[in-house]
């Protein structure tokens, strides 16, 4: 196993997010599986990512893309067997790739045996594993998450003739964490996977674990207590294993989930993502600086996870109404592109397939403080299919080559879990991994070099950030610093060439070395440092004092 012994591995990681179903089908049934994924690990290793985050692969009725888990300790038959998973895990570790799996603790599928038992009778021992009520009037005022489909957080159970609480879809009843038995059951699930060797969990919907009357049932102290206990047990029994929080909240609210370094190791920085898109469209650094200014310090052992796109809609929960309207108008003028409070599109189509903007956004992602996540297919500029319904348009088969079904599967095209993208711009004949491997100037090859540079310097993952305030607001410039490593990042957010003068007096005498070409630039002196940048161009400079 090539894995380095480092309990802070998640801070230096570059994560690749994928769904087993979407990646590679080894048995020609039209659905991706672990055996197929294992075959493609070399591709991921070459790309330069260091960890894989798997979306839910558990047995499930798949009414919410696997987030409705019906069995926590097995693999959905469509994706293979538990043995296939073990093989995949071993092969990934052999390549130095860590594996983060998804775990949904807040709720189960209504097809989970626990819920089947709970609803079977009011006397069943598992009755109290879920949140029941005689009426649907409790917890008034708690927001509904899926406003497009749900009208209440309570659902009527005709079998036990009472209401059950569900914060998400009505087929996803919430577990009752006030019951200690539920906690122990969940910990058993985690131990099961940790014993197999997984490196971390992405815990879904953690803000909603506990309900209390008179509150919004989010971020409650009791929820934090549960997480602290899980973390305590994890550190004792499985040091180095990581917990990643999915809490779509403002950074100041998410901050609590780091505790004193005794809750989550990492959490998503949700509000940064739409603001990166906004900044590029506005050609103005203001949105990014504002949100990072509002981001609190976190304990040394903790880390923000940042991303551009993922399997969900580009969430616009953490923006103002004005900002949301702007994002809709600029990135989702066609209402088909919108879902819930977000935009169901991939990176490349949102950037109008403009290579310069795609590169700039990836450059921002890789140079901002935090652990970056690359969503599968975005490294080659895959498109989406907004007509597939729900968020399935960004979950189409990975485009490997120009052969049948984009090389994803040998099944008949009609049998695929979703059609491959086949339009003239983003279709697999034009956009696929194999052709981009062969082209020196492809997006894939560029992404590889980007990750290579990023992975060579810990300053990107662990360094401090200090923004410059040049008068040209179209330029976003910041200094990253960690130990002896100092990196200057300068981004032109605009579609036109820009000049910028940076006050580098503090770094007088340093020589900037452009990190992709390793070219020397003039030494910093007393005067403001003049740089000119082409449209959407960015520079990463390593600063050396020689």
């Amino acid at each position: 196993m090539r894995l380095q012994k480092d309990n802070l591995w998640y801070k230096d990681a570059v994560i690749y997010q994928l769904h087993v179903r979407t990646f590679c089908d080894s048995n020609a049934d039209g659905i991706g599986d672990f055996a197929g994924l294992t075959q493609r690990l070399d591709y991921l290793e070459e790309l330069g990512i260091t960890a894989i985050w798997l979306l839910p692969f558990y047995p499930s009725p798949l009414r919410d893309d696997g987030y409705d888990i019906a069995d926590y300790t097995s693999v959905h038959a469509s994706y293979g067997s538990l043995e296939d998973f073990k093989t995949f895990l071993a092969e990934a570790h052999r390549r130095g790739l860590r594996i983060i799996i998804e775990l949904v603790l807040n709720h189960t599928s209504d097809q989970h045996p626990w819920f089947k038992e709970a609803r079977s009778s009011r006397e069943n021992p598992r009755r109290d594993w879920y949140v029941w009520s005689e009426t649907d009037t409790g917890y008034q005022g708690v927001p509904i998450v899926f406003v497009d489909t749900e009208t209440s957080n309570w659902a009527w159970d005709p079998i036990s003739k009472s209401y059950y609480w569900h914060r998400f879809f009505s087929h996803q009843p919430d577990l009752n964490f006030d019951n200690p038995a539920v906690f122990e059951a969940v910990w058993d699930v985690m131990k099961f996977w940790l014993n197999l060797g997984v490196d971390g969990f992405r815990l879904d919907a953690v803000a909603y674990l506990v309900e209390r009357e008179g509150t919004l049932c989010e971020n409650l102290p009791e929820t934090h207590a549960i997480i602290r206990e899980l973390r305590k047990r994890l550190d004792l029994a499985y040091p180095g294993a990581m917990l990643l929080a999915e809490a779509n909240q403002w950074p100041s609210d998410v901050r609590a989930y780091f505790g004193d370094g005794d809750e989550f190791h990492a959490a998503f920085h949700f509000p940064l993502m739409p603001r990166m898109f906004m900044a590029v469209k506005l050609e103005d650094r203001k949105p990014i600086i504002e949100i990072l200014d509002q981001t609190p310090e976190i304990p040394d052992s903790c880390q923000w996870f940042i991303f551009l796109r993922n399997h969900d809609e580009l969430t616009l929960e953490m923006v103002t109404d004005v900002e949301r309207d702007y994002m809709y108008d600029e990135y989702a003028i066609d209402k088909t592109m919108r879902i819930n409070r977000g935009i169901r599109r991939r990176l490349a189509p949102m950037m109008d397939n403009d290579r310069r903007r795609i590169e700039l956004l990836n450059g921002l992602l890789m140079s901002m403080p935090g652990t970056p996540i690359v969503y599968y297919g975005d490294e080659i500029g895959m498109g989406d299919n907004i007509y597939l319904g729900d968020r399935n348009g960004v979950r189409t088969p990975m485009q490997w080559n120009s052969a049948l079904n984009a090389g994803f599967s040998w099944a008949d095209p009609e049998r695929l879990y979703a059609p491959v993208i086949s339009n003239a711009v983003y279709g697999y004949q034009a956009v696929n991994a194999d052709s981009q491997k062969r082209s020196e100037h492809s997006l894939l090859r560029w992404m590889r070099s980007l990750l290579q540079v990023r992975n060579a310097f810990q300053v990107f993952s662990r360094g401090t950030i200090q923004f410059f305030n040049p008068s040209n607001h179209r330029v976003l410039a910041y200094m990253r610093q960690f130990g002896e490593e100092t990196v200057l990042v300068v981004n032109n957010l605009s579609s036109s060439a820009q000049a910028v003068e940076l006050d580098v007096q503090r770094y007088k005498g340093y020589i900037p070395i452009e990190m992709f070409g390793r070219n020397l630039f003039p030494r910093f002196g007393n005067s403001p440092y003049l740089l000119t940048l082409g449209p959407y161009q960015f520079y990463w400079f390593q600063l050396r004092r020689i």
Partner: protein, 428 residues
């Protein structure tokens, strides 16, 4: 740097940082240190409330005064924070640019600098406001910008709610005369607040007129007339109450006439090919309520105004004889001798008087500056007559009288055209 370079390197550097903008608001903070902060707050609030998505900049033309410029130069992270409206935040960086112009500055220099900035920044909609105006509000700034930005107009003149005794020069001279001659019913061509498009800014900037005294004094009127006479789309927008104090008709009226009437006459000269062919005046689209009048009491010293009229006409007898048509001059001499109670300056005589002045300005029968100054006693006579006649008039009656005066100016336009085209032997 060459002497004729308008923009300093410092200003150019600031503009480079701003880049292209959608909206530009310009102002001159010369001698307005006390009110400049209030003006900036109003503009910032207007941007935040009405134009959250737009790229915006404030251009202040200052005299290098540290107090004034210091306020303006404060970045958006400072002053803008203080005026941030609850729940509303502009999406973009808000810029302020300061152009230091060495004294003595003039409205013309300030406007030319603002136009140059607008042109370089490719601003779509611009407004000029006065930091000295206490009536400046976020809404009034938006009302100047919105018709340009959203409705594609090129020139926005302000409309105000005024005391009925305010703005008499505009009511009795500037508005009816410019409306009759240029065919456009803009009430406030002479104002320190107006809006304009980037297109119009570029046109005006490239005119070789900036050395003219008339342009230096009241460039806004020239800009408005340029818009009218170049077929740009013009409109008016209601800005609320005009806060300017009622001015007496003392000696400073001479300077006011030099600036306003002098500019109007200069524009007649410069745009004669347009107005000589212009047949009828047209109403202009108006945003917000129409012109409003209030009836607060006034403290104008009527007897003094009448005395100044009589003494002025008598003193300037030789000059007036060279300016006025003999018949006009004779009629004026006859009303000068009337007792105060019987005195009336009838509108047909007033119009003929002004047209005589305009024609004589055109023919340069005497020094043009002296000519405009000679209008002062006659204007006082007209004002006295107006105050007496309308001491008890309702606002509706005053509006009706104003409309009749406009009609008189239009009716007698052929008289002016005849005198304008006549060959005149200039006395040496």
């Amino acid at each position: 740097m060459a002497e004729d370079v308008l923009l300093s390197d410092d200003l150019l550097s600031q503009l480079m940082s701003v880049g292209e903008v959608d909206l530009l608001v310009g102002m001159s903070s010369h001698s307005a240190a006390n009110t400049v902060r209030q003006a900036l707050d109003a503009i910032e609030a207007s941007f935040q409330r009405n134009f959250v998505r737009q790229r915006v900049v404030i251009v202040n033309v200052g005299g290098g005064d540290k107090d004034e410029d210091g306020v303006v130069a404060q970045g958006p992270g400072n002053l803008a924070e203080k005026v941030r409206l609850p729940g509303i935040t502009s999406l973009r960086t808000s810029h302020r640019v300061t152009a230091n112009v060495s004294s003595p500055s003039s409205p013309g220099i300030a406007l030319r600098t603002i136009l140059a900035a607008a042109d370089l920044l490719r601003a779509r909609a611009c407004a000029v406001v006065s930091p000295a105006a206490s009536n400046l509000t976020p809404d009034s700034v938006a009302n100047l910008l919105r018709p340009i930005y959203r409705e594609k107009f090129d020139f926005v003149a302000p409309l105000y709610s005024r005391n009925k005794y305010q703005g008499l020069l505009a009511r009795n001279l500037l508005y009816p005369m410019s409306r009759a001659l240029f065919g456009c019913g803009i009430r406030e061509l002479f104002s320190d607040e107006w809006g304009f498009s980037g297109r119009l800014a570029a046109l005006c900037l490239n005119q070789d007129v900036w050395h003219e005294e008339a342009i230096q004094a009241r460039p806004e009127a020239w800009m408005g007339i340029s818009a009218i006479s170049s077929d740009f789309r013009c409109c008016q927008a209601f800005l609320g109450e005009k806060s300017q104090a009622t001015k007496g008709l003392g000696t400073d009226i001479v300077e006011v006439l030099r600036q306003t009437v002098g500019t109007l006459f200069w524009c007649l000269e410069a745009r004669q090919s347009w107005w000589l062919d212009c047949e009828r005046s047209q109403p202009v689209p108006t945003f917000g309520p129409a012109h409003e009048l209030t009836s607060d009491p006034t403290d104008l010293d009527r007897p003094r105004i009448f005395d100044m009229f009589r003494s002025g006409v008598t003193e300037l007898e030789p000059i007036l004889s060279s300016i006025l048509d003999p018949e006009t001059h004779s009629e004026i001499k006859s009303i000068v001798s009337l007792e105060e109670g019987k005195f009336r300056f009838k509108s047909d005589l007033w119009v003929r008087t002004l047209y005589d002045f305009a024609a004589s300005y055109h023919h340069a029968v005497i020094n043009r500056d002296h000519l405009v100054q000679a209008l002062a006693p006659l204007y006082r006579g007209m004002t006295y007559s107006f105050l007496v006649e309308h001491s008890d008039s309702s606002t509706a009656e005053m509006e009706a009288a104003s409309e009749m005066l406009c009609g008189e100016f239009e009716l007698q336009k052929p008289y002016l055209m005849e005198r304008w085209k006549a060959k005149v032997e200039v006395k040496s």
